[in-house]
């Protein structure tokens, strides 16, 4: 059986004056799966979504969305997709209900009003439905935006950093909505800066760096590739060497010393190394432990490991 891809792009390129935002981006998202596009600011995530959602024309490369050619059949693509951008794409002057009814009408949705009410209910916006959306909180606006993208039950949903800037409760609501959609068979492509978010939602992760896919795999594969960071803090400086010896045995990784904090750490890719085992072994070796941690990799670890440099916080693309 062959896999059907809901999103398939090859060599997408997009340039803004002298900035090359996309430099040959290849993506393949199997139908009915959630793909997390992970990367720091400026990696090209938003540009990728805008190109795939027909908002920007690619300079080179091709893509098929739900079987339709992105450049030649933009209207067919638009009928198949829903898009929720980083900035709420709803009309601030209109109420929540007016927004959804308008988009439903423009989508030729049968029973536009009923569909709008159903979505308001589902995203817990029924109470605020008659208020202009400019009075909504960030989380409410994002929920309305997501509701607007779901009017026609799209085959493919693009979410550009859907939880950036949201409080934990709103974030969980968005996450749950994404899980429900995926369970219903919607293909979701979401961009995020948070490894945790990709880990929780995505079947596959594509790590994007400087407009290109740098690495791809399941969350477990990526984490296994990068490993966790084991770190111990000892009571006095003399014990650091002993601690490093134990860590070396357990992880096989090269120990890092932080003399100021009297901390020793090492990367491990061994899935059997748990925190209790780490503590037991160090205690058995007589190391005076003050603190021990086994931290899953962060986005920075991912980038350090896979690109030999930290995630660029300023969002500059060279």
């Amino acid at each position: 059986m062959t896999t059907t891809y809901a999103v398939l792009s090859e060599g997408l390129e997009k340039r803004f004056r002298d900035v090359r935002a996309l430099r040959g981006l290849d993506l393949a998202v199997a139908e009915g799966t959630v793909c997390g596009v992970l990367g720091p600011n400026g990696a090209g995530k938003t540009t990728a979504v805008r190109v795939l959602a027909t908002l920007l024309r690619p300079d080179a490369g091709s893509a098929r969305i739900a079987g339709h050619d992105l450049v030649r059949e933009p209207d067919a693509v638009r009928r198949a997709i829903g898009v929720t951008g980083q900035y709420a794409s709803v009309d601030g002057d209109l109420t929540g209900r007016e927004n959804l009814r308008l988009f439903a009408k423009l989508h030729r949705a049968p029973k536009a009003s009923a569909r709008a009410d159903e979505l308001l209910e589902r995203f817990e916006l029924a109470e605020a439905a008659n208020r202009p959306t400019s009075t909504y909180s960030g989380g409410m606006r994002r929920r309305l935006d997501l509701a607007a993208s779901l009017i026609t039950r799209p085959a493919v949903l693009f979410l550009d950093e859907p939880t950036t800037g949201l409080d934990p409760a709103s974030r969980n609501q968005i996450w749950q909505a994404v899980r429900d959609l995926a369970a219903d068979g919607t293909t979701v492509l979401l961009t995020t800066q948070y490894l945790e978010e990709a880990d929780r939602l995505a079947h596959d992760i594509v790590l994007v760096d400087r407009g290109r896919a740098a690495q791809r795999g399941s969350p477990a594969q990526l984490k296994a590739l990068i490993g966790s960071y084991a770190e111990v803090v000892v009571a006095h400086a003399d014990a650091m060497t002993a601690a490093a010896g134990v860590l070396d045995q357990l992880t096989g990784g090269e120990p890092h010393f932080d003399h100021e904090r009297r901390a020793v750490g090492a990367v491990t890719t061994d899935p059997t190394l748990t925190l209790p085992r780490l503590v037991r072994e160090l205690d058995a070796a007589g190391v005076p432990l003050l603190d021990a941690s086994l931290r899953p990799p962060t986005l920075d670890d991912v980038f350090l490991r896979l690109t030999d440099r930290p995630a660029d916080p300023k969002g500059l693309v060279a």
Partner: protein
């Protein structure tokens, strides 16, 4: 074509809802010409050679046309507001006619202009202005005013889409109030020095004002004027046709091609 009509109707609905929630600009653009009618009509009117009542009859058509010319300002402001907001991204990802967005704006503006004309005409009646021609000509005058408004709003939409920010559009849009000052909307151009008279009479506002005065029967076509004023109805139609022919396609193109 039915797609365009359907989508445009939906966009007109959106614009009217916006005005219902934020009626500020609409109220301002409706009350401004009334204030000007009272100030100009009674303050300036007392200092002019023309008798006051006659001046006020002369002024009402001028203010109607000046208000129609405000389509530049309103169109600019709304288009700039829209183009810098996220909702445009939503429209661009919907399987809808892209022309419907600017066309919906221009069409809803026409509805609001028609409504906005009523209070000015009522105050005009109160200060002595009358329809002195045939009813058919009066209807033609109103139709011409709406056509001119439709034309000017496309200038505004193009400038608004091209503007860098809402603020820039607001400032530039505000500056358009000088356009009727260089026309025969508020004063007759007969006594202006030669070059200034020519400039004022080639202002499209002058041709339309003359046509509206002529159709309402408020003032005759002046002698020895430049061609658009001497043939005001033909001149007005030519101006409106030319403006629409240039600015409508440019604005639609700008909207459909822009990649914000």
């Amino acid at each position: 074509m039915s797609t365009l009509a359907y989508d445009t109707t939906a966009m007109v609905g959106r614009q009217l809802q916006r005005v219902r929630h934020n009626p500020g600009l609409q109220i301002l653009t409706q009350t401004m010409p009334i204030t000007m009618l009272l100030f100009f009509g009674y303050v300036f009117g007392s200092a002019l050679a023309m008798p006051g009542a006659e001046y006020r009859s002369f002024l009402v058509p001028g203010l109607l046309v000046a208000t129609a010319a405000n389509g530049i300002m309103t169109g600019m402001f709304q288009a700039a507001q829209d183009s810098h907001r996220g909702v445009m991204d939503r429209f661009r990802t919907l399987p809808m006619s892209r022309t419907a967005v600017p066309l919906g704006q221009a069409a809803s503006d026409l509805v609001l202009t028609a409504v906005g004309m009523v209070p000015l005409l009522l105050v005009g009646l109160a200060v002595g202005w009358r329809v002195e021609g045939s009813p058919l000509e009066a209807v033609a005058a109103v139709a011409l005013l709406l056509l001119f408004r439709f034309a000017t709003s496309w200038i505004g939409i193009l400038l608004g889409l091209a503007s860098q920010s809402e603020e820039a559009a607001g400032q530039l849009g505000g500056a358009t109030f000088i356009l009727p000052l260089l026309s025969n909307a508020y004063i007759p151009t007969d006594n202006l020095p030669g070059w200034l008279r020519t400039t004022a009479e080639w202002n499209p506002i002058s041709a339309v004002t003359t046509a509206v005065r002529d159709l309402f029967g408020n003032a005759p076509v002046p002698d020895g004027a430049a061609w658009p004023v001497a043939h005001p109805v033909a001149g007005s139609l030519a101006w409106c046709g030319a403006i629409i022919a240039v600015f409508l396609p440019l604005a639609v193109r700008r909207y459909t091609r822009s990649e914000r």
